[in-house]
């Protein structure tokens, strides 16, 4: 079975439908699947539920899908870096479900690993715990959270081989490895597709079993907060 697709648009063939659930990797604008987001925008698919830690910025990242009003609901831990998000949310056009960041990560990991629910102490005694099952373990209270899966997961990695084995780079890894496991179909877009056998099997972060489609993309890699230090005078 051939996993390598010529471009992000082709990689979406036969997968998209209105009302679908999509997981999108990335933290802020770092390690986001820019090419697949553009292809989803071009496909015009609507009423999306998007599971992603953040929601991009105005005009970039998931902000592109927001601007085109393709998103019905966001499942995130931190949003609001974009004005259009704020506008749609305040006018009731957009649903929002907040998850603590670690709970979101673990729900995705669990979903991909066939675990329907788990207990965590994160959020006990807060609004997040309302309506959730509470249980004591060794005298401490925990709440139940459920696993998450998606119709497709779009992830961004540094390198892939034609089998879909993935290697991420630096903090661009973030949510991508868990999401790769939790999509019914996972599309990985990468900076470089290398020859079979050229990745060290000991260094692979996501084994190819989790990845159905691979695309080599081009990336803007926009920086949200460019912070630098000055060289001290010699």
């Amino acid at each position: 079975m051939k996993k390598v697709y010529p471009d992000a648009k082709t990689a979406l063939d036969g997968l998209v439908f209105d009302g679908m659930t999509i997981m999108a990797g990335g933290f802020g604008l770092c390690g986001i699947p820019e090419n697949s987001i553009a292809a989803l925008h071009a496909a015009g698919v609507k009423d999306l539920t998007v599971i992603s830690n953040n929601c991009g910025v105005d005009g970039f990242g998931l902000g592109i899908l927001l601007d085109a009003q393709q998103i019905k609901k966001m499942v995130s831990s931190y949003v609001g870096e974009n004005k259009e998000f704020e506008r749609q949310y305040l006018e009731g056009e957009l649903e929002l479900e907040f998850n603590p960041q670690g709970t979101l990560a673990e729900r995705i990991r669990a979903g991909g690993a066939g675990i329907p629910g788990f207990f965590t102490k994160t959020g006990v005694g807060t609004l997040i715990a309302e309506g959730k099952e509470h249980r004591e373990f060794d005298g401490e209270t925990y709440i139940m959270e459920t696993g998450l899966t998606a119709d497709i997961a779009i992830v961004k990695a540094w390198k892939a081989d034609p089998q879909g084995n993935l290697i991420y780079r630096k903090t661009a890894r973030n949510f991508n490895p868990m999401m790769a496991t939790a999509g019914k179909v996972t599309i990985a877009e990468v900076e470089e597709i290398v020859e079979l056998g050229s990745l060290d099997p000991d260094e692979i972060h996501t084994p190819g079993i989790f990845v159905q489609r691979v695309v080599q993309g081009s990336f803007e890699k926009r920086i949200e907060q460019r912070t630098i230090r000055q060289r001290e005078d010699a």
Binding site: F27, V79, F98, Q101, A172, I228
Partner: protein, 216 residues
């Protein structure tokens, strides 16, 4: 007179011990990194997936794939490791991080913390704050002693939605340092120029003054 933001950060840096793995929150807590004693070995964790966070890069070394949890560009060190968000929060939730230093809007006398949501205002989300306060071994808060309207932020009970229950161990404010103890707060240190009278006036939470309270 009271502690400035930088002076609070310098005071908070004394909470770091040799060998600690530490997570610093966004804002004033980030400044703590500037005051770490050079004679101790501390590793900073960034919850987006990095242990061993270095300083901001020189202009030519900026790498879009290398950011901290505040989305600022940073650098790696020789000790650095990278990992996924689930591994990162495994470290946090699993109690492997020794210390977290965070900002807060309100703290109650039993150590509840509110720092993510003001009802009626646009809510941006809790990010990793709920996981940090629930999982890290020791939670230290840095904050102004009173809010912008001059009202106490150390309260009997938090009025804002909580980030976590009974999870704060120590609070460093512009006026002094408090520990959360069995039956309320304990004032253990006064900032230079602050007085017991001023603290009494600006604190709603029940607190006692330690016999050996440090005065500067």
């Amino acid at each position: 007179m009271a502690w400035t933001r930088d002076e609070m950060a310098a005071r908070a840096a004394k909470e770091l011990k040799d060998g600690f793995y530490v997570n610093l929150g966004i804002g004033i807590p980030t400044l703590v990194a500037n005051y770490i004693d050079e004679n101790i070995d501390v590793t900073l964790q960034s919850e987006n997936g990095m242990l061993g966070m270095g300083p901001f890069p020189y202009d030519e070394d900026v790498d879009p794939d290398l950011i901290n949890a505040g989305k600022q560009t940073i650098t790696e060190l020789r000790r650095t490791s990278y990992f996924s968000s689930s591994d990162s929060f495994g470290m946090i939730r699993g109690g492997h991080i020794d210390l977290s230093i965070l900002g807060a809007m309100e703290i109650s006398e039993n150590g509840d913390i509110a720092n993510w949501m003001i009802p009626g205002k646009l809510v941006k989300g809790m990010g990793g704050a709920m996981d940090l306060v629930a999982g890290v071994k020791r939670v230290v808060v840095i904050m102004d002693h009173a809010n912008k309207r001059g009202e106490p932020k150390l309260l009997k009970e938090c009025s804002l939605p909580l980030t976590g229950q009974k999870c704060v161990h120590r609070i460093i404010t512009t006026l002094g340092v408090f520990d959360v103890v069995e039956d309320g707060l304990l004032l253990i240190e006064l900032a230079p120029g602050s007085s017991l009278e001023e603290i009494a006036e600006k604190t709603e939470a029940k607190y006692a003054v330690a016999d050996d309270v440090i005065r500067h």
